[in-house]
């Protein structure tokens, strides 16, 4: 995979298969290609060579809009910086992917999702009126709203204090278990990575080690 102006190979020779429902933790130093790998899986960046297939869909050769439709159906994303839309209420933020997918009951479903993350009392609040933890819970509700096949999380606790981060992690794993979504989680925290079925370590664009957890 190359960056725009000069071709720099960020990911090299990644050969990875993730089973449906599996949780994969990704660790590695800054610049090792963790985020790039996640973007390629989300269809937000394209691999310059090789093949990518997610949830039974080959992403090779899909147009920008086809990739958007793919994300709409299959992918939920959670970011370190939450990335809620500031002009929309919590409810609207959760409803937006459903609205885009054309669900008539977008708001009812969004309300259920917010209820599931314990925010039924915060529906009409704007991101600016929510705490960091509440924002990330809203983001989780948004990610799960479309019943994704795969959840991509990029350091979801990075901007939160320890206790709140722990609550988010518990919530995220609980929801994933309930929905049976595949999880790919980037983290710097080895303990968090250890909660996954498998941990990949990236360095210099390659998977340098792979460790299977003994599932509890």
């Amino acid at each position: 995979m190359g960056a725009e102006s000069r071709e720099v190979n960020i990911l090299r020779g990644i050969d990875l298969q993730v089973a449906r429902g599996e949780a994969v933790g990704i660790v590695g130093p800054s610049g090792s290609g963790k985020t790039s790998m996640l973007m390629v899986i989300a269809g937000l960046e394209r691999a310059t060579s090789g093949q990518v297939a997610v949830a039974g869909t080959s992403l090779d050769g899909l147009s920008e809009d086809q990739l958007a439709l793919f994300r709409r159906q299959h992918v939920g994303i959670v970011f370190q910086a939450f990335h809620l839309i500031p002009t929309m209420t919590a409810l609207e933020n959760v409803a937006i992917p459903l609205e885009l997918a054309g669900h008539d009951d977008a708001f009812a479903r969004a309300e259920r999702e917010l209820d599931a993350v314990g925010l039924s009392h915060r529906l009409g609040h704007y991101p600016g009126q929510l705490s960091g933890g509440e924002q990330q819970r809203t983001a989780l509700a948004r990610a799960f709203a479309i019943e994704p096949d795969i959840l991509l999380a990029d350091e979801p606790t990075g901007n939160l204090d320890g206790e709140t981060g722990q609550q988010i992690v518990d919530l995220m794993f609980r929801l994933r278990n309930e929905r049976g979504a595949t999880l790919m989680l980037i983290t710097h925290d080895p303990k968090l990575a250890a909660k996954c079925d498998r941990t990949l370590t990236l360095a210099d664009g390659r998977i340098v080690s792979e460790k299977l957890q003994a599932v509890a």
Binding site: T35, L38, M39, A42, L44, E45, E64, D65, A68, L69, F70, R71, R72, Q73, V75, I77, F79, A81, H83, L84, I85, P86, T87, M88, E92, I96, P97, E99, L100, A101, G102, D104, R142, I146, D154
Partner: protein, 841 residues
Amino acid sequence: MSSLPVALRIALRELRAGIRGFRIFIACLALGVAAIAAVGALSASVVESLERDGQAILGGDAEFRLLHREAADGQVEAMQAAGQISFSRQMRGMVRLENVPDQGTLVEVKAVDNAYPLYGAITLNQNISLTDALAPRDGIYGALVDPNLLTRLTAEVGDKVRLGDALLEIRGTIAREPDRVTSVFTLGPRLMIHGDALETTGLIQPGSLVRNYYRVRLNDGVDRGLWLDGMRDDFTDAGWRIRTTEDAAPRVTRFVDRLGLFLTLVGLTILLVGGIGVSNAVRSHLESRIGSIAVLKCVGATSSVIFRAYLIQVMLIALLGTAIGLLLGAFSPLLFARALEAALPTDIPFGFHLLPMVQATAFGLLTALVFALWPLGRVGVIPGAALFRNLVAPTAGRPRGGVLITLAIAATALVALAVLGASRPGFAIAFVIGSVAAMMAFRYCALGVMKLAARVNPGRDAGLRLALANMHRPGAATPAVIMSLGLGLAVLVAIGQIEGNLRQQVDQELPNEAPAFFFIDIQRDQIDGFEAAVRKVEGAGEIERTATLRGMIVGVNGRPASEIAADPDQAWVLQGDRSITYAARPAPDANIVAGEWWDADYRGEPLVSFEADAAKGIGLNVGDQITVNILGRKITAKVANLRDVDWGTLRLNFVMVFSPGVLDGAPYTYIATAKATPAAEDGIERAVISEYPNISAIRIRDALDLVKVMLGNIALAVRSTAGLTLLAGALVLAGAVAAGHRRRIYDAVVLKVLGATRGDILRAFLIEYGLLGLAAGLIAIGVGSLTGWAVMTQVMNTGFTFQPLLALLTALLCIAVTLAFGFGGAWNALGKKAAPLLRNE
């Protein structure tokens, strides 16, 4: 489910962030729309009031005008059968105080009958009836005058004056004459007398330039159209000009129309300049929404949903700006109508006019659309991946095909609206081409300036290095500043250059070459005596004289003149009566561009020499036939040659010069010009007036003073509107400065951390804005002067001299404005504390 409702919902949610970033956008649109709506509303009001007062302005339901002669008995009887007639006559004359017989003042004489006025009423400043004011008292007829005449004559009501051979008593002054269409250019004040009084003046002589008006108030039940058709059929050779209430004030209508077109184009320029502000505002808005757009992409929004959402948002805001503009524009007639009424024959009512409002709305929305589409089209380029990285680089790249097609359609619609809505589409097309060319010129010049800034070696000067870097870095304000301010300034430069040239021509060129006097209505038996009288005065120079009478072109190659589709610039040739003359030889300075002059002793079939531009305008070539009605007689002549005439010399020039013999039997009079030293002018006028009271003397100096005043008034109006263009430019500039403000604060903070003093930073910012202003000013001078040159040489067919002082002032103004904005921005940036910003970053 269509994606539009989702897009609409997203747009409405996005609007919750408020319209702070769109203030310049709204102001730019509102200003342009207000200008266009105001012009439209005002001209609609004027046209409406002209229509409403058509009968009073015309003085009847229909008007028949004959030159030199009166209508035949049969013709008058036919008019009387249909209704009531009022007969009035107008001509120029010299009026003198009874006790100062050799000092005259040129007046516009109007002689009326007892039926006058058929519609409306004349208002006098004295408590006296019109009949009493004009009736003879002790054998002396009364006269009503324009108050100006009293000032000119240093006379008062009750004084006696002479007009030709007649003695008249001034019985009052006229406050308002219902049928007087104040022309922008009248040489003398009004003197109104009774028709019987005119007969006693001796001014009515064969060939005198008198205009006879028969106004008819039709009886109930007479269908005007049918009746006029009948009159035209019954008196095919009458040679009269018929006017109805619909075209009661054609000159005013034309003037309003032209001024309206011009001001609409100025309004459009404001919108174009504002459009750059729109574009900048949309771009910086989208840059501030990169996060939201990326989130939408991550959760599955397609580019087209996002594009539509932001398009809807931008157009809703455009609707707000347009609405504000409409409101301002609709009420502006309240402000300007009073000022216009002084120059119009009617008062202007305040009313709502739908069409100009619709037109202004369309202009506003289409401009917003055209200028917003390009930056909007690039939302597709903003990657969802932006959320994973700190993506701050401005979005670049070309919008996709669909957006480009929409852009092309919107731009075409805008051009079509400008061109089809204009009374002179050719003019509008030239404007469109010119403004597109100007915008491209500014764009490329801006890119050139950026390239240059990148190349210049600033040496060891850190301030200069920073300034130059700011001018050419990606996302620099350079194109925005140069285009917005430059375009506004270019309009100002162009108008300044045109006005300066016109003023220069009036001020400087004429007095050296131009005659001091025009004399009209010189009878054939007076011409030699007249010449001798003028020559006797010390300081009198060359006298040029020529036989003349008036005639109207009624046919071209056998087709009626009314059916000829003439170039609007030259249509005047066919519309009224023209002075004509005959000559055996061409004038010494004649420039024959086609065909040949006739032999000096030619006596064959009638030939005519035609002025080249006028001939081209009505599609006339050498060998064609024209038919001219002269005193009821139709003369058909073959076009022998075409002449270029420089009207600017004020010599005796004619559109049509006939071959000898054609006018021999006609009762022509002479007109003459005389050159004179300024000191000799009074003497010449005295000599002529005391001996020949029927000859009217027109002082060129007075006429030129009038032209200067007129030019001054028009220039003021034009400059004020051009000033609005500059205001729009300044708004856009303010927007551009504001858009770069965050980056500027950040730069200032980082520079302070690195040890730069406030002075260092301020200096760098000022150098940057000074250079930008200089560049914008220089380009504006180039583009504006080129426009001025094109208008002077191509539209007005006259010379052009570059006015360096004006150009210099413009450049200085430009630098001052940019420096002021740059300084304001920099000062604010310098005030920010470093610590909190660095922590946040």
